[in-house]
């Protein structure tokens, strides 16, 4: 497959248009069904008992009391849990996590399932779970990252990030005439999609049907099949809508396996829906970090070194280390660059990928450290970043596939009104006397492509069906992918039916890493192209077609007609070509992934610049983010309405990271004390004002066939640092701990 877009294929009739969501009506009428909306006949309700200690073992469960409660049908404990083929402690694939499925009585974190109760009603199962009243033998929990013993992370793929070192680090430090050496902290955060995790499992012989929200249908089928020793084709997953995912719904969690096991054991469908409190345990989280950044500049204010050391928490039994130090690779033109990852084991659930893993946390620290370096240099933060702008990827010297970051800086600064910002902090007040500050940060996010397949069916009436097991978790895949699909056949999007969200469809890949539109979109485009190719062959070989004999020409599809490229006088409607061939559907297939040679040749990133204004109450140190302007270059934007919404959502996640989100562990039990929406704060409407997003034009001929880079995560990336820097600019205080709390500013 060529790695550049074939210019003869017309793009833009649908792609690039701000179309409204195709699932809009279903979602405003209540017709969209989420997993928990399914309640099959004869269903049993499952409720699991979460451990209330973080380390130790369960010494007793009052099974008799639970079983005696009316409506309780079964109690699953390590003593009677049926055999599970897959080893929950094994990691058969790169994306496997160790999980708890009642394999023994040990407790390795608070919130881990220690028993599961099944009942005829959810109320009965809930009461049964309470009556189990576990007792524990408790060991002192290790939940404080600052007291844990660090070790070097052994690189090994997902969750075990590779470090990097380019250039002579020591020389970089020595060459510095000015330097900063600062440590930033980030807090544990929990995804908390509005839809809690849920599953409805039903067995039919050795066939398993699941309703479960998943960001990766095909991968999930394989995982479930391996746990239950059935062929992968025996697993079907229905996942039409996800009520948000953010990384937490990509891999099977222990409670889901237990529910499936319970369904097999009882021969009845089993439904499990996690409570909000249970979303703070076995569902992954963004691990806390402590990041030391040492930066140096020469007399010319050019960076001589970026030395980024990240310590991250992981569980006592598995590895997922926030790849935070990786954020320093690929951005600024430093003479020497080093990223080091160290880990520490705590009695917590294993962290995982959460919206912008690595970059969100890493750039929070990096962008603040850059601001401190600019301050030391006596330079405007934007000027300092432009001074250290990387024209090629630092360290590797590879060209960027495209990089419109300079435009992001300039357009964002212009829109924000950055010019005239006083260099020194604590210079600005608003009309109400609030301290006002402006800060900025750079955003960078990689553009991965995964692997996806798709099928296109051109029907005799000229309409088309496209199919791939893509996932809409809110980002708008059902709409954007339909736009790409329609363009591949030159059809209006309304003539295209698009099916996704079910495992029986061709593998749509993973909705993650901001790579879904590029990957699944690439596959859809390839499938459509395959139809056009076949259609062209049919027409060229058909003496009755105006396209007869044009076999060596390329064809273009527009408005439901096939044209000889460059010769508008020769064309024919799809329907006519098909009709003469007997009127059967024409089926094409396609796949997409990135050719390894392209991946090696180019550095591929989305870029952005975020500018923040904060106001700080001088008496109370309360912080309000009053304006955020983000300018992003992310290749081709398929649907500006959807893309803006993703980027805005990212900005708000940035506010949340910078000012709100943090899970607190009780030092005695190790439990998270704010494990609900009352205690774990995410922003509300009134916290969010003055947001603006611009997308900067960017043609990327290399990143993939369609030139798509992805927008789902980058919005958070520069924002956290921009807010931290704006708070410094308002108050003169550098707070090196996120979220920034009132008391940090008071103490400063």
């Amino acid at each position: 497959m060529p790695d550049t877009l074939d210019r003869t294929i017309r793009f833009g009739s649908n792609s690039g248009q701000p179309m409204t969501r195709r699932d809009g009506i279903a979602k405003v009428t209540g017709a969209a069904t989420f997993t928990a909306d399914n309640t099959p006949d004869n269903v049993l309700h499952a409720v699991y008992v979460p451990a209330t200690i973080a380390r130790g073992r369960v010494t007793s469960l009052d099974v008799a009391a639970a079983e005696a409660h009316p409506g309780v049908t079964h109690v699953l404990t390590p003593a009677n849990r049926p055999h599970l083929h897959g080893d929950p402690e094994a990691k058969p694939t790169m994306f496997s996590f160790r999980i708890e499925v009642l394999q023994d009585d040990t407790v390795r974190y608070a919130g881990q399932p220690v028993a599961m109760v099944l009942g005829e009603t959810l109320e009965a199962a809930t009461e049964g779970a309470r009556l189990l009243a576990p007792t524990y033998e408790m060991a002192p929990p290790r939940v404080d990252l600052d007291r844990a013993e660090p070790y070097d992370v052994e690189p090994g793929g997902f969750g075990r990030p590779t470090g990097a070192s380019h250039g002579d680090i020591d020389a970089g430090h020595r060459a510095a005439v000015k330097s900063v050496d600062v440590t930033y902290s980030t807090a544990p955060q929990y995804h908390n999609a509005m839809e809690t995790h849920a599953i409805v499992a039903a067995w039919d012989g050795d066939k398993l049907h699941l309703d479960v929200p998943t960001q990766a249908l095909s991968m999930s089928c394989a995982a479930y099949a391996s746990f239950f020793d059935i062929p992968v084709e025996n697993v079907t997953i229905n996942s039409p809508y996800l009520g948000g995912g953010f990384g937490s719904k990509a891999v099977p969690i222990g409670p889901n396996i237990l529910a499936i096991l319970a369904a097999r054991m009882t021969g009845r469908p089993v439904k499990l829906m996690l409570t909000r409190q249970q979303m703070f345990g076995p569902t992954g989280h963004r691990g806390a970090t402590r990041q030391r950044l040492r930066l140096g500049i020469d007399e010319d204010a050019s960076l001589t070194v970026i030395d980024h050391d990240s310590l991250s928490e992981t569980s006592s039994f598995d590895d997922f280390h926030e790849p935070a130090a990786g954020a320093s690779q690929g951005l600024y033109a430093a003479g020497a660059l080093r990223s080091v990852h160290r880990g520490a084991r705590l009695d917590i659930g294993t962290p995982g990928a959460m919206r912008a893993p690595g970059e969100a946390s890493g750039s929070a620290a990096l962008e603040c450290a850059m601001d401190e370096m600019a301050e030391a240099a006596g330079m405007d933060p934007l000027e300092f970043r432009l001074k250290n702008y990387a024209e090629t990827e630092p360290g590797t010297g590879r060209p960027y596939s495209s990089k419109a970051l300079r435009d992001c800086y300039l357009q964002g600064a212009e829109r924000f009104g950055w010019a005239g910002r006083p260099l020194a902090p604590r210079q600005m007040r608003d009309e109400n006397g609030l301290l006002t500050g402006w800060g900025m940060g750079t955003a960078l996010f990689p553009c991965p492509m995964f692997m996806a397949e798709a099928r296109a069916t051109l029907r005799a009436d000229g309409s088309a069906l496209f199919e791939t097991s893509a996932v809409d978790m809110g980002q708008g895949a059902l709409t954007a992918l339909a736009q790409i699909a329609a363009d591949s056949l030159g059809l209006p999007v309304d003539n295209v039916e698009f099916r996704a969200g079910h495992s029986s469809l061709p593998d749509g890949g993973v909705a993650g890493g901001s790579g879904h539109t590029a990957t699944a979109g690439g596959a859809l485009h390839a499938a459509g192209s395959d139809v056009i190719r076949q259609l062209g062959e049919m027409a060229a070989a058909d003496p009755a077609s105006p396209l007869h004999g044009a076999g060596n020409a390329s064809f273009v599809a527009r408005h439901g007609r096939l044209y000889v490229d460059g010769d508008d006088s020769r064309s024919e409607p799809f329907a006519d070509i098909l009709s003469r061939a007997g009127g059967a559907d024409l089926v094409g297939s396609g796949s997409a992934s990135r050719p390894p040679e392209t991946a090696a040749q180019y550095a591929m990133y989305s870029h952005g610049a975020v500018f923040a204004e904060v106001k700080v109450d001088p008496d109370l140190c309360q912080v309000q983010v009053t304006r955020l302007v983000g300018a992003f270059a992310a290749g081709r934007i398929i649907n500006p309405k959807l893309a803006d919404s993703q980027l805005l959502g990212g900005l708000i996640w940035g506010i949340s990271f910078a000012l709100h989100e943090e899970a607190h562990h009780d030092p005695v039990t190790g439990r998270i004390v704010n494990a609900d929406f009352a205690g774990y704060h995410v922003p509300v409407n009134a916290d969010v004002r003055g947001l603006e997003v611009l997308t900067v034009h960017e043609d990327d001929p290399h990143v993939n066939l369609l030139g798509i880079k992805g927008v789902g995560e980058i919005g958070i990336v520069g924002t956290v640092g921009a807010i931290g820097n704006a708070i410094w600019h308002a108050t003169g205080h550098r707070i090196r701990r996120f979220p920034i709390r009132i008391e940090d500013l008071l103490k400063a």
Binding site: E123, N674, I742, E743, L746
Partner: protein, 286 residues
């Protein structure tokens, strides 16, 4: 997240409710009014009443009314009843319309009740603060009869009151402010709609430039809202100026025993007490 089983009782009158409560209280029977605090506590299994006696089925308990010089707030008056100031309630009504906007969220205010808030006795209850500043009397009913408790004797700690377990808070009597009173309210929360970190409600009278009467209430700072006499003393007879307000705030900060929590140290709440008092006073004369 499902409440434990309970029985549900529809009383025919307040007296019937009191009789039922007396009968069942030892087993854990409770009164259900707005339910906006009790029901989440039941879902979280912090509360598991054996029976709920639902006052919502009783007529005529929803509308506040004037009785002589007091505003009477019956047991089922929802927070939302105060969204629009009833002209008949004068300055008091306008003050309550300002305060009510800070209580929880709009949908919660549709169900939650004034008396329920006093009975729940959260330290950051806006209505408990209001009742303190107005010098409320609480009317309690049981099978033993009725009694009235002055607000100063109501809370005996966070989430704790002097109500006997078999008593129902059937009404709160709020003495009306004089029409020359000026009021101010300032509340600070970490995030819009959250429980307050602290709040002040003030009611002052000013003749010429001089403050002739002052009530200064603080909520959310200590384990229960109360009036701060030391702050009031700094105001009376003094000019209504920022300097005077600052002295009142300092006096309050010197005497409050501020609470701390996981994310908010007591020193912050003490400082916050001074700030909200200054701002509430400034608002009162604005």
């Amino acid at each position: 997240m499902k409440p434990a089983p309970f029985a549900y009782y529809r009383p025919t009158s307040l007296e019937d409710a009191a009789a039922r409560l007396a009968e069942g209280v030892d087993d854990g029977a409770m009164i259900l009014a707005g339910g906006q605090s009790l029901v989440p506590m039941m879902a979280l299994r912090v509360a598991y009443p054996s029976e709920l006696i639902d006052l919502n089925v009783l007529p005529d308990l929803g509308t506040p009314f004037i009785d002589g010089t007091a505003l009477v707030v019956p047991a089922l008056t929802r927070h939302a009843s105060f969204h629009k100031a009833d002209p008949a309630f004068g300055v008091t009504g306008r003050m309550m319309a300002e305060v009510v906007r800070h209580i929880a969220h709009y949908p919660i205010r549709q169900r939650g009740t004034f008396c329920g808030s006093l009975a729940h006795a959260d330290p950051s209850s806006e209505w408990a603060l209001t009742a303190n500043v107005l010098g409320a009397e609480l009317e309690l009913l049981s099978t033993r009869g009725t009694r009235r408790v002055p607000i100063a004797d109501w809370c005996d700690g966070a989430m704790s009151t002097t109500r006997e377990p078999d008593e129902i808070l059937v009404a709160t009597h709020l003495p009306l402010l004089s029409e020359t009173t000026r009021t101010g309210f300032c509340e600070i929360s970490r995030r819009a709609g959250d429980f307050a970190l602290g709040m002040a409600l003030v009611a002052i009278e000013v003749q010429g430039d001089t403050i002739t009467a002052a009530r200064v209430g603080l909520g959310g700072i200590e384990d229960a809202p109360r009036r701060i006499a030391e702050a009031e003393a700094e105001l009376i007879g003094q000019p209504a100026t920022p300097d005077t307000f600052a002295k009142a705030a300092d006096a309050a900060m010197a005497v409050v025993e501020a609470m701390g929590d996981a994310t908010t140290p007591p020193e912050y709440r003490r400082d916050l007490a001074g700030t909200v008092i200054r701002r509430a006073l400034a608002q009162a004369i604005a």
